[in-house]
Structure formats: C-alpha cells, structure tokens
C-alpha cells in the first residue's frame, strides 16, 4: 500500500517542483539541466521503490503514476483554470522584434538565450523575428516577419 502512497506524494511533489523551478529548466538540455534531471530521477526512484525489488511493486508504482498522469491531464482538459495552474501560460518574449525584458527576467532568460534558441531553429538574426513566445511546455516558438 505504501508504495502507492509514495508514488502519489512524489508525483505531486514533482509537479510542484516543475512549476516552481520554471519551465525552461526542465525543457532545455544544457549540461546543468541534464545533471539536474538525472539527479531528480535517481532521487525519486530511491524514494519511490526503496528496497522493494518486486515486479508487483514496479507495476504498482508505474500504474499509480500513469493513472495520476491521465487524471491530471483530464482535469486540465476539463477545467481550464486548473490547466493554467498545472501547465502555465505562454509568455511573449519578443514583440515585433523587440525584447520584452520584464518577461525575460521573469523566467531568468537573457537575450543570448533567445538568440541561441533561434539559431537552433535556423534563424540567424533576431531582426527577422516578429514574435518569440515561451510556450507552456518550455519551448520557444519563433514567428518570423513576413
């Protein structure tokens, strides 16, 4: 029974961490972020299964987390305000080619971060960018000037 309770507690805590740390940290993959994800995964696994090496234990843990994931997804779909809480909302980072610095600061991002992300999307110059939007999933969408 306790493995199910541990799975529930850890799932809620991970959701909390993901929302509090900020979307960029968990969606980008700088070496630091990768290390963070590995440490998180390892710490969660140990707290979740502890000394239980049984198949039953693994099935219970995975089943509980999968159920919670579907439940969270359904609740987000059913109740839009909850979706904003659980997943966040888009934030405009570049408006008509100009940085919105207040929004960059809010997510601890610099102009260099935006330029790097743009280069990864084959955009050489930010002069060509009309909009840059930090999406709820942590990725940045670029919409070029026509």
């Amino acid at each position: 029974m306790d493995i199910v309770l541990r799975a529930i507690v850890l799932y809620v805590f991970v959701i909390f961490i993901m929302r509090v740390i900020g979307r960029r940290e968990l969606s980008s993959m700088t070496p630091f972020d990768l290390v963070l994800l590995i440490i998180l995964g390892d710490a969660i696994q140990q707290g979740l299964t502890q000394d239980d090496y049984s198949v039953t234990g693994a099935i219970l843990a995975i089943g509980t987390i999968a159920t919670l994931q579907v439940l969270t997804s359904y609740l987000s779909f059913r109740f839009p305000p909850l979706r904003r809480v659980l997943e966040g909302e888009p934030i405009v980072l570049v408006d008509h080619g100009k940085f919105v610095h207040r929004n960059l600061r809010r997510d601890r991002m610099t102009e260099d971060d935006i330029a790097e992300e743009a280069r990864q999307q084959q955009i050489a110059s930010l002069d060509k960018v009309q909009w840059a939007i930090l999406e709820a999933n942590g990725s940045i969408s670029f919409i070029k000037s026509e």
């Binding site: 306790d2 929302r19 900020g22 909302e89 934030i91 405009v92 008509h96 909009w131 919409i143 000037s145």
Partner: protein, 174 residues
Amino acid sequence: MADIPDRIVLRRHRDLEGRGWQIWLRRGLFALLPVLAILGLLNVFGQRPESTTKSVDAASLKLYAPSRVRSGVLYQARFHIAAHQDLRQATLVLDPGWLESMTLNTIEPAPVGEASDNGRLSLDLGHIPAGGSYLLFLEFQTNPTNLGHRSADVSLKDGNRMLLQINRTITIFP
C-alpha cells in the same frame, strides 16, 4: 508582417495583466525548497545523534542516538554505562519503540541474556564493577514502511532494582 498569433492575448501574455501575482506565488513556493534544505541541515528530519545523560548515585547512563530518523536509514545507538557502585546484574530495558518496524542488525557486545520485561526488551549485561564502564552498541536499520512517533525510553536496572530512566521518543519520517 505577422499579426498577433492566434490565442495570444497581448494584455495577458505580453503585459501579464492579471498575472503579476503569479511570479510572487512561484517565488514564495520556491522559497519553501531552501527552507526544507535548511530544516534538513538543522536535523529536523534526522538522523544526527544526540546525547542524553542521566546519573544517580549507583551509576550513570549516557545514550548517544538519533531521535529522528527516516525510513530506510541505518543508524547506531550507543549506551555508555558508568558504574559508580558495584552493579551485580546491570540490565538495560528498552521500550518496544526501539524495535517496532526496525531491523536490529547487531548488538555488540552480545548481552549475557535477553528477555521480555513486561513487554519491553530486557538486555542483561552482567556484572559491572564499581568504577567500571560498559559500552553497548546497537546497529539499526529503519524499515522502509516504518513511519510515526514512538516512545523509546531506556531504563537501567541492577537486577530488579530500577536505577534510572531516560525518557525519549523516536520519530520516523517517511
């Protein structure tokens, strides 16, 4: 020129109208994380050992053990008995909380005898001459499913004669 992207409302998504409080909520919640870490450093969640000493004319007992542990951790309890007078049959009596959902890995040195003293674990340590001391180590592991707050009193007896008692509790965090 691209128009405003669909579903983007500039007042909400660029100017963050009505969302100013969200960042402060996030920062406030984030502040809980270092608070947790600081509480951990302050031993709120164990398992740093603490010393408790009690002394009477016949003997003194110093207990060095954590009073807060977490499920799954290994820890040690050390009992140091100093005999001020001759103790013919020094006996340590431990509350059941010491062993409830705990794995007792070892007791060193092995006691002369073990028994139940009205439901408590009684360890017969044998004779300790006046001026002598006895050091007993118990090595535990908290069972992963263990959780809660239990009495973990320790009594020192000489035969059936109660000499002293240390009152303590042990708290097990999940």
